[in-house]
């Protein structure tokens, strides 16, 4: 046991520390990645401090102020129910980002867990789980979301579930592949021969090995999750339409496109900015951690 502990400290820990330091410096030198990180942080701040930043209550309906033009009191005017548009845009960040982040955490955790288990144990459980994921993978994501939401009805947990669900096979596959190769390493064999339990090997030795692909995938899928939430809200399958979400605002602005185009322009711009930020950041993380992942993550079915 002592030897195992010593090895654990000597090998992966010290190595990974210097690695992460180098990655951090590389990230600072990556212009586009830095730009993406700045945008992402700004959007996150917008979501967190929405109550402080928004001048009005975003769901307060004012029948006497419908479609007011831009003015000093309403910076971007008011919408079809007289609600302050600027405040709704700021609050919109909250639900969109929240659902996106939780959905990504959900698919990352479940996908990684399945990937670790199937890659480590192989055999029957591997076959069974991977076949189940093949089935899930065969379903077109938006249509599966449509089917589930039409049946259980739209709600925030349901949205998180359907958005996360489609990404699970991809995480599981990549983690499984990484585990299959990582478990051939000598320190894993050594740990096993020293009597480490499977759980310990998975947690202590294999998980750190698959962190890079997980980080790459989850940062890239954040952008995807936000787009997915926005499109479902745009289709009217999102959260309660009185709550401000960018997709929902775009949907509400659609019918007034000719007369009040700004109602559709601004929510879309913000979605684009958020997605762009997360994408740029994800790309940079991918380039730094593993350039060879390029084709696997960006090309193919994952985008």
């Amino acid at each position: 046991m002592k030897a195992e502990a010593a090895m654990a400290i000597a090998l992966p820990a010290s190595r990974s520390q210097s690695h992460w330091h180098r990655y951090y410096r590389q990230f600072l030198q990556n212009g586009l990645g830095l730009f993406g990180a700045v945008i992402s942080i700004l959007i996150a701040l917008l979501a967190i401090f929405a109550p402080l930043l928004a001048p009005y209550d975003p769901i307060q309906v004012q029948p006497d102020k419908i479609f007011e033009p831009r003015s000093w009191s309403h910076w971007l005017g008011t919408d079809e129910l007289g609600r302050d548009f600027f405040s709704r845009l700021i609050y919109g960040a909250r639900i969109s980002i929240f659902i996106g982040v939780v959905a990504v955490v959900f698919k990352t955790v479940v996908g990684t867990f399945i990937g670790l288990i199937t890659g480590y144990f192989e055999g029957f459980i591997d076959d069974l789980l991977m076949r189940c994921l093949d089935v899930l993978y065969a379903f077109p994501r938006t249509l599966l979301a449509l089917l589930i939401l039409a049946i259980v009805g739209p709600s925030i947990p349901a949205l998180i579930f359907v958005i996360g669900l489609g990404g699970i096979p991809q995480f599981a596959r990549i983690v499984r592949g990484a585990v299959l190769s990582a478990k051939q390493n000598e320190y894993v064999v050594a740990a096993r021969s020293l009597g480490s339990t499977s759980a310990r090997i998975l947690w202590r030795y294999l998980l750190p090995n698959v962190l890079a692909p997980i980080l790459i995938l989850s940062s890239l899928s954040l952008a995807r999750a936000i787009t997915a939430e926005a499109s479902l809200s745009f289709l009217g399958l999102g959260v309660d339409p009185t709550l401000p979400t960018w997709g929902g605002m775009l949907r509400a602005g659609g019918p007034y496109l000719r007369l009040y185009p700004h109602l559709a322009i601004f929510p879309g711009l913000l979605i684009m900015l958020a997605v762009l930020g997360f994408n740029a950041m994800g790309d940079a993380i991918r380039d730094i951690l593993d350039p060879r992942m390029l084709n696997r993550v960006r090309g193919g079915r994952t985008t």
Partner: protein
């Protein structure tokens, strides 16, 4: 080759089986039971309700219901629409050409933009053009397609009045196809552009390219004849996968442009709680997805015999 194909076909069966099971079981998640939903808002008494339950076979155990569902599916009976009472399968098949047309047109847009720009970027990496196109590609994958659709409608339909904003036209014409195809194709153009660039960059480092250059061949010939052919193999796979991705990614686009395809049909079915129709659409696209994947993998195998499929098939 044949062995590989048979092997893949055998792998398809459990997947398709699983798909039908998921679609079948999804309906079990309904609050209340299916009979209530199928009767909908109409006034009904207990006898009607019982009759409906009997008609739907809800009194039987779940596995019997699934067995019946499956045998019906295998005989091409996808059930009947709750709303219009038409048969589901013919209604879906009617919509497939529109979806495929849109997918094909979008693919053309994606290829015509993506491949040339990707090649040019790879030939002069880190040049202004390369940086510009990579930023363009990043924008392309980041712009939400439904927003781009609205903006194009705003400019080209509402302000300029050049192109129609909805429908497919009667009879179907090209004008109606332009905007949806551009919107749907642009995101794939970005993906294909990036992929072409990275594959091309890799291939340009190979010995045979150096040999071709050393022979004194024109750079144009080296790029287009020697390098491109090899670089395009992963792109072909991507294109194959995109075809299905295009059909599924087109859900929002078909709705925005009122394009009469299968995805819009699924959306309408969801709105009207027309579950048999929705189930049919989802299952049909899943089947399409699986079959196209098989064709793509086979094509890939044919194009690049070096690939060992023992492991690759599993990784998907």
């Amino acid at each position: 080759m044949i062995k590989y194909l048979l092997n893949r076909l055998a792998q398809l069966i459990p997947v398709l089986f699983g798909c039908s099971l998921v679609v079948f079981l999804a309906l079990q998640l309904l609050p209340g039971d299916a009979a209530q939903v199928f009767l909908g808002d109409r006034e009904y008494n207990q006898t009607d309700y019982q009759a409906m339950r009997e008609y739907l076979g809800l009194d039987e155990p779940l596995y019997v219901q699934y067995y019946k569902y499956l045998t019906n599916l295998l005989q091409g009976d996808f059930g009947r629409s709750v709303r219009t009472h038409e048969k589901v399968l013919p209604a879906i098949l009617e919509r497939i050409p529109a979806s495929l047309t849109l997918a094909a047109a979008s693919l053309c847009v994606a290829l015509v933009i993506g491949i040339p720009v990707g090649i040019l970027s790879a030939v002069k990496p880190y040049s202004r053009l390369d940086q510009g196109s990579m930023i363009g590609a990043l924008l392309g994958v980041s712009i939400p397609n439904f927003w781009m659709a609205l903006m194009l409608i705003l400019v080209f339909s509402l302000y300029l009045d050049w192109l129609p904003a909805s429908g497919r036209g009667t009879p179907p014409d090209l004008k109606h196809l332009v905007l949806p195809a551009i919107v749907l194709g642009s995101a794939y153009a970005a993906t294909i552009c990036r992929l072409t660039r990275s594959c091309m960059l890799e291939v340009l480092n190979y010995d045979f390219v150096r040999t071709a250059r050393a022979k004194g061949l024109l750079e144009f010939v080296v790029i287009n004849k020697h390098a491109l052919r090899n670089a395009l193999i992963p792109v072909v796979t991507e294109v194959g996968i995109s075809i299905v991705g295009l059909i599924e990614g087109s859900t929002v686009i078909e709705v925005v442009f009122a394009w009469p395809g299968i995805a819009r049909m699924a959306f309408q079915a969801a709105q009207y709680r027309d579950y048999p129709m929705l189930q049919g659409c989802v299952l049909m696209v899943a089947i399409l997805f699986v079959v196209v994947n098989l064709i793509v993998d086979t094509l890939y195998y044919y194009l690049d015999p070096r690939i060992k499929f023992a492991g690759a098939a599993h990784e998907g």
